[in-house]
C-alpha cells in the first residue's frame, strides 16, 4: 500500500490558510489496525465537499478525525497533519471540546435529546453561556429557519424532540448545530435514514448555508454527491485488513465526468462497491 499515490484533479494548496481543512499524510489506527493511510486533502471554504466510497472504506472514520470524535473511542491513534484554518487540531494544548464548538457534526441516525425542541436548539448556546431568554428565543428561531424546520415546528416548540418525524428530527439536529454558528459542518450520511421530502429540504438548506459554513458530507448516494457538492473525494479500501486510501480528489464536475483513476471510474459507473 505504501506505493499508493492519490490523483488530484485540482492542485493541492501550499498555503494552509487558503483552505478550511489542510490535511497531509494522515494516518489512523484502531489499536493495531491501520484504518487510514497517507491521506492528503484540501477542503475548500464556503463550499460543499463530498466524501464517497463503498461501505467500510474509512470515510466516516476520516470525518470523525476532523472534529476528534474518535478521541471518545479508547485505543485510537492519529498521525500526520490536519490543520483547521492553519491551526493544528491535533497539536498539543488543543482542546477537543473547543474544537467541537467550531466544528459541528450531523450523524446518520437523527439523535435529538429527549427534551423539548426548544431546549434541543438552545442546548449549544446555553453551553456557550447565553442566558437571556430573549437571546435564546432569537437563536432558536433563526436556527430553525436556517434548517428549514421553523414553519413545521413553530407552534410545538415545547414538544419532545423525539415526537416529530425522522426527517424533522434530522433537521432539528442540523438546527441544533447551526445554533452555535460553527465554521464547519460535518455530515455523516445525514440522509440515509430519512424520508425523501426531508432529504430535499436538507439539500436545499445546504446550498443556502454553504457560503457561511464549510460543509463536508459523507454519502453513499452518488446522485446526491453530484447534486450538492462542489468538490469530491473518493476513498477506497481495496483489500480487507489493509488500510483505506484516498484514491482521487478534485472538483465534483471533474470526478464525475473525467475521473483520472480507473477505480474511481469503476465505482462511479457502478462496477463495484
Amino acid at each position: 500500500m505504501s506505493a499508493h499515490e492519490t490523483k488530484y484533479s485540482t492542485v493541492l494548496q501550499t498555503d494552509p490558510l487558503t483552505t478550511s481543512y489542510y490535511v497531509r499524510n494522515l494516518e489512523f489506527w484502531y489499536g493495531d489496525f491501520n484504518a487510514l493511510t497517507n491521506i492528503s486533502l484540501d477542503v475548500m471554504p464556503s463550499a460543499v465537499t463530498a466524501f464517497i466510497g463503498p461501505s467500510g472504506c474509512g470515510k466516516s472514520t476520516f470525518l470523525r478525525c476532523m472534529n476528534r470524535m474518535n478521541d471518545l473511542i479508547p485505543d485510537t491513534q492519529v498521525g500526520g497533519k490536519m490543520l483547521l484554518k492553519g491551526a493544528d487540531i491535533y497539536g498539543s494544548g488543543v482542546d477537543p471540546v473547543d474544537l467541537r464548538r467550531r466544528v459541528g457534526m450531523i450523524f446518520q441516525q437523527p439523535n435529538p435529546f429527549p427534551q423539548s425542541i426548544y431546549d434541543n436548539v438552545a442546548y449549544g448556546p446555553r453551553l456557550q453561556g447565553v442566558k437571556k431568554k430573549r437571546d435564546l428565543d432569537d437563536i432558536v428561531e433563526d436556527s430553525l429557519k436556517r434548517a428549514n424546520l421553523w414553519k413545521e415546528v413553530k407552534d410545538i416548540l415545547d414538544k419532545n424532540g423525539l415526537a416529530i418525524s425522522g426527517g424533522q428530527q434530522q433537521r432539528l439536529c442540523i438546527a441544533r448545530v447551526l445554533a452555535v454558528q460553527p465554521e464547519v459542518l460535518l455530515m455523516d450520511e445525514p440522509c440515509s435514514a430519512i424520508d425523501p421530502t426531508s432529504v430535499q429540504k436538507i439539500e436545499d438548506l445546504m446550498a443556502e448555508i454553504k457560503d457561511e459554513v464549510t460543509i463536508i458530507i459523507v454519502t453513499h448516494n452518488m446522485q446526491q454527491a453530484a447534486r450538492v457538492s462542489d468538490y469530491t473525494s473518493f476513498f477506497l479500501q481495496e483489500v480487507a485488513g489493509e488500510p483505506a486510501v484516498l484514491v482521487e480528489s478534485g472538483k465534483t464536475s471533474d470526478i464525475f465526468t473525467a475521473p483520472i483513476d480507473k477505480r474511481t471510474e469503476d465505482y462511479i459507473t457502478g462496477r463495484f462497491g
Binding site: R100, F107, N111, L162, S165
Partner: protein, 357 residues
C-alpha cells in the same frame, strides 16, 4: 410473539376441522380459559369414535400427544397460579390476623398511639412508624447520592476494565447477608459512632450508615441499567456540540434517565423499609419516639422479630398490625414504580415512531 400466532392459527385450523366433524361440541370452544378449552377439546376428541373421521383428514399428531400437551399446559398454569396464591395468602392471612385490632385496640388508637407497653397492654404504633421513617429517610439521604454517583461513574466514566472490577464488587455487596452487615455494624460502626457522638452507639445514626450499605447496591445496579439504556447517539451529539463530559452527563444523560433513577430509588426505599436484621442489631430497640441521632429507637420490622416469639393475644394482634402496615407500604411502592414506568413506556412508544436508534 409471532411464533405464538403461528401456532394459534394452526390450532385454529385444527379446530375448524374438528368442529366440522362434531358440530355439537362447538360451544365448548368459547370457554374463557385457554387451558380449559384445550381440556375440553381433548375430552371431545376422546368421545369421538374414530370411524366418524373422514379418511382424508390430516392427522399426524397422535391424540395422546395432544392430551399430553394440554395437560402440561395446565400444569404450568397451576404453577404460575401458585405465585398469585402465595401472595394472596400472605396478604389475606396478615390482614386476617391483624383485623381483631379494630375491636381490641381500636384502629385510630393503634395508628396514633405513642406508647407501646406490653405490661400495660397499650399498643400504639407511632414510635415504630416514626422509627422506620427516620431510619429509612436517613439511609436514603446517604445511600441514594452515593449509589447514583457510582452508577454514573460506571456507565459514563469508567473504562471496561475498571467496570470489570466495580460491577462484581457491587453485585457482591448486594449479596452480603443483612445479618453479616448488621454484625459489621455492631463490631465496627457502633463503637465508631459511640466515640463520635457519645452514648452507647446504638441508634438512628448507626442504622443510617448500616442501612445505606444495604440499599446502595440495589440502587446502583438499577440506576446503571437506566443509564445504559440511553442511546449512545445522544451522548455523541452532545460531545459533538463541544460539551464537556460533565455537561453531557448533567444536561443530557441524567434528564433522559431520570425516571429509571427515580424507580431505582423507590425500590431501594422498599428494600430499606423491609430490612430487618441489620437494623435490629444496631438501632437500639427501645420503643421510644425519635429523640436525636444517638437515642435508641425501634422500627416496625425489628419490633416484630423481638417480640413475636413470646407474644400472644392482643400483643400478637398488634404485631400483625405492624406487619400489615409494612405490607401495605411495600405493595404501594411496587404500584408506584409500575405507574411511573408505565407512563414512561407510553411516552417511549409514541416516540419510537420517530425512528430513533
Amino acid at each position: 410473539m409471532s411464533e405464538d400466532k403461528n401456532i394459534e392459527s394452526v390450532e385454529a385450523g385444527k379446530e375448524g376441522l374438528r368442529t366440522d366433524a362434531n358440530p355439537s361440541k362447538k360451544t365448548l370452544t368459547h370457554t374463557p380459559s385457554v387451558a380449559m378449552r384445550e381440556f375440553a377439546e381433548t375430552a371431545a376428541q376422546r368421545e369421538k369414535p374414530p370411524e366418524v373421521r373422514p379418511a382424508t383428514k390430516l392427522q399426524l399428531v397422535s391424540r395422546s400427544t395432544q392430551i399430553k400437551e394440554a395437560a402440561l399446559a395446565s400444569l404450568f398454569f397451576i404453577c404460575a397460579f401458585l405465585a398469585v396464591l402465595g401472595v394472596a395468602l400472605i396478604f389475606a392471612f396478615v390482614a386476617f390476623r391483624a383485623f381483631p385490632l379494630v375491636t381490641e385496640i381500636g384502629l385510630w388508637d393503634f395508628l396514633t398511639g405513642t406508647t407501646w407497653s406490653v405490661a400495660e397492654g397499650t399498643f400504639g404504633a407511632v414510635p415504630f412508624m416514626l422509627g422506620s421513617l427516620v431510619v429509612v429517610g436517613g439511609s436514603l439521604v446517604i445511600g441514594v447520592p452515593l449509589a447514583v454517583l457510582t452508577a454514573i461513574f460506571m456507565s459514563e466514566v469508567a473504562t471496561p476494565r475498571a467496570n470489570s472490577i466495580i460491577r462484581p464488587a457491587v453485585e457482591l455487596l448486594a449479596g452480603v447477608p443483612s445479618v453479616v452487615v448488621g454484625f459489621f455494624g455492631v463490631v465496627v460502626v457502633v463503637p465508631l459512632v459511640s466515640a463520635l457522638v457519645g452514648g452507647a452507639g446504638f441508634g438512628p445514626l448507626t442504622a443510617w450508615i448500616v442501612l445505606s450499605i444495604m440499599i446502595m447496591p440495589t440502587i446502583t445496579t438499577l440506576s446503571e441499567d437506566a443509564l445504559n439504556s440511553i442511546p449512545m447517539g445522544i451522548r455523541e451529539a452532545s460531545y459533538a456540540m463541544g460539551a464537556t463530559k460533565w455537561q453531557t452527563i448533567w444536561k443530557v444523560v441524567i434528564p433522559a434517565a431520570k425516571i429509571g433513577i427515580i424507580d431505582a430509588a423507590i425500590l431501594g426505599m422498599g428494600r430499606a423499609i423491609g430490612e430487618t436484621m441489620a437494623v435490629l442489631m444496631v438501632v437500639g430497640n427501645a420503643p421510644q419516639i425519635f429523640a436525636g441521632i444517638s437515642a435508641p429507637i425501634s422500627t416496625m420490622t425489628s419490633q416484630i422479630v423481638l417480640e413475636m416469639g413470646y407474644s400472644s393475644g392482643t400483643h400478637r394482634t398488634a404485631l400483625f398490625g405492624l406487619a400489615a402496615i409494612l405490607s401495605l407500604i411495600s405493595m404501594s411502592l411496587v404500584l408506584t414504580v409500575r405507574l411511573v414506568s408505565r407512563d414512561q413506556h407510553k411516552k417511549r412508544k409514541k416516540v419510537k415512531k420517530g425512528g430513533v436508534a
